[in-house]
Symmetry: C2
Subunit: 356 residues, 2 copies
């Protein structure tokens, strides 16, 4: 090897080294730009799957008016129309606890246990149906039927409820204002419409919405990893829409009976109870995940206390995926970004009309 | 009679007639002034017996601070420190129902019936004691002991409550802010102080206060008659102070056993249960009458549903007075003027800290 060649080789080595160094240095500098690109990708994927949370949950059958919302807010807190004088919507949906009661299963009049866990009523009106097994068509239907539900308000008849409401002049006036076209406005159907109108205003936008709206820093690094894992693992097969669920029924326990992991007792056959169709055995409505971190315990029977455990269990049952501890923690952190801001109007316990 | 005399007599008659006419006309014009004098008398009598409602109920042992009130408002609504996860202060004192529950007797954890009726906690902290039989020294003492009261929160120990509160970082922070001098601020004693500070802000000034402050038209004619009858009949022997009661114990049924008229079942021996002193048999704390029209049913056992009936019964039992229908209606109308304005802060159901 002549001197020229040695020099050439040395120069070549230096050039290669310099190139690598340059790439390394440039990479270090461009990495924020890459992250931004990735954030943008993540935002786009999220927006495509979830979409923006609307300002309220509209209903062509029950247009929202201020007078209905005002009355609905009061009726939501009204216990004097229950068989023991203690049950109101707010009993199983205390607004200060994100409109869920924190119990395994809801407790109604005279301490009767309900068959399933109380879901939050925040953001809830846009679901396919109400109740875990879809035996209520809407939040309005749920509110109305609760009045005569034996483990709920437990009233003997709808007429008995109307009689109590009609006995309070304050309510008669409010029903008249909320339903000005009706000759006899104080009905359980209008009770249901007023409660429904109130509930349809209870949206809780969260930092996740800020992220989807382009604010990359609204989620921290762990929450972004969690969102990515949530999208990649297949959670969004069921948990989609702005409500992150609530749009379909699915068999709980696709790869094995759910009670294997939840230790549930007794076994609930889900939507089968409604349809008597074998195919509906163990089918439940996919719950919305808005505010899920704030509304333990989990699943239809509240059988699992911790959100991270619920995340691991559902991934195994539905997708046969064994999440690592890190993945479960990341998804749990992402789910925390769905805990929203509660509208001021929602956390008022309004003064109720006096008995005559 | 000469002409001069005739003329003089005619003039005299005319003068007398004119005088009478003048008096009659003037009387017609001055009658509002007379009424105003009477209103002023009534105001003066009322002010002497009742006195002005303060802006809040102070306590040298538990100074009111914004941080304590904020924490107390939240703890007031907190059900997760009860044995069934359902009982909070707000259960037996729903603020939307003027902080009384409308039941004959309060219902605590696991639907256990309490021995007596829930009194309102509005304006309540300035009473001689808490509870109908005075077995709690103050609202703070009541709040603390309720935690382990078997028919109330039903928790096994104070430590079990403290453990739950300490498990929620949101509460740890709030206790620290409310009790900055304390090394270990999360205690049931501080729980009681925070609840007490919140309750001590819950004053409900009413049209009766406007009247005492000189606004004669704040009470209508029937209410003024009722107030006069209330003062004249002797009701104020027991129902005095700005709270219209709450300052002394009295035997319920001075002239005959109370159950003769209330049909109470079982018979409650009142304060005797606390002191075991024969002289305290059937002694109860005289209840405050602020918001009494808004807080049925009546008496220590809620045995009487209508306020007008309660008015007639108590006058007969305590004063041996048979009120006429009109007198009872007038007093009831006056008591309606004690229904006050609820502070906005009182009817908030605040968002509670999340479980860890």
């Amino acid at each position: 090897m002549n001197t020229m060649m040695k020099i050439s080789l040395a120069l070549l080595r230096s050039a290669i080294l310099l190139t690598f160094l340059t790439i390394a240095v440039l990479s270090a500098f461009v990495s924020p730009a890459s992250a931004a690109d990735t954030d943008q990708d993540l935002m786009n994927r999220a927006k495509a799957i979830f979409g923006p949370l609307p300002a309220f949950m509209p209903s062509p059958d029950n247009p929202i008016t201020p007078a209905k919302v005002k009355l609905g807010n009061m009726l939501f807190w009204e216990p004097r129309i229950s068989s023991d004088g203690v049950v109101s919507c707010a009993k199983c949906h205390p607004l200060g606890l994100f409109a869920a009661d924190g119990l395994k299963k809801a407790v109604g009049n005279h301490c009767k246990e309900n068959p399933r866990n109380s879901p939050t009523i925040f953001n809830a009106a846009a679901q396919i149906s109400a109740h875990w097994i879809g035996n209520r068509t809407s939040v309005e239907d749920q509110a109305k039927q609760a009045l005569i539900g034996p483990p709920s308000y437990g009233m003997p008849t709808y007429e008995s409820v109307e009689k109590i409401l009609k006995s309070m002049p304050g309510y008669v006036k409010l029903f008249r204002e909320a339903f000005p076209q009706d000759k006899e406005p104080v009905t359980v159907d209008n009770f249901a419409r007023a409660i429904g109108a109130f509930e349809r205003t209870l949206m809780t936008p969260s930092s996740f919405d800020d992220f989807m709206n382009g604010k990359a820093e609204a989620l921290n690094a762990q929450q972004k990893r969690g969102l990515r894992t949530f999208l990649d693992t297949g959670c969004t097969t069921c948990h989609y829409s702005p409500y992150v669920g609530g749009q379909i029924y699915r068999k709980f326990g696709v790869f094995q009976p759910y009670e294997n992991l939840t230790k549930s007792q007794p076994i609930d056959e889900g939507r089968f109870a409604v349809t008597k169709n074998e195919a509906d055995k163990y089918m439940f409505k996919v719950p919305i995940l808005r505010n899920v971190a704030a509304t333990p315990p989990y699943f239809h029977d509240g059988s699992v206390e911790k959100l991270e455990d619920a995340v691991r269990i559902i991934a195994k049952l539905q997708l046969n995926r064994d999440l690592t501890k890190e993945q479960a923690a990341d998804i749990t952190a992402f789910l925390g970004s769905l805990t929203g801001a509660i509208p001021e109007s929602a956390i008022k316990a309004p003064l109720l009309p006096l008995a005559d």
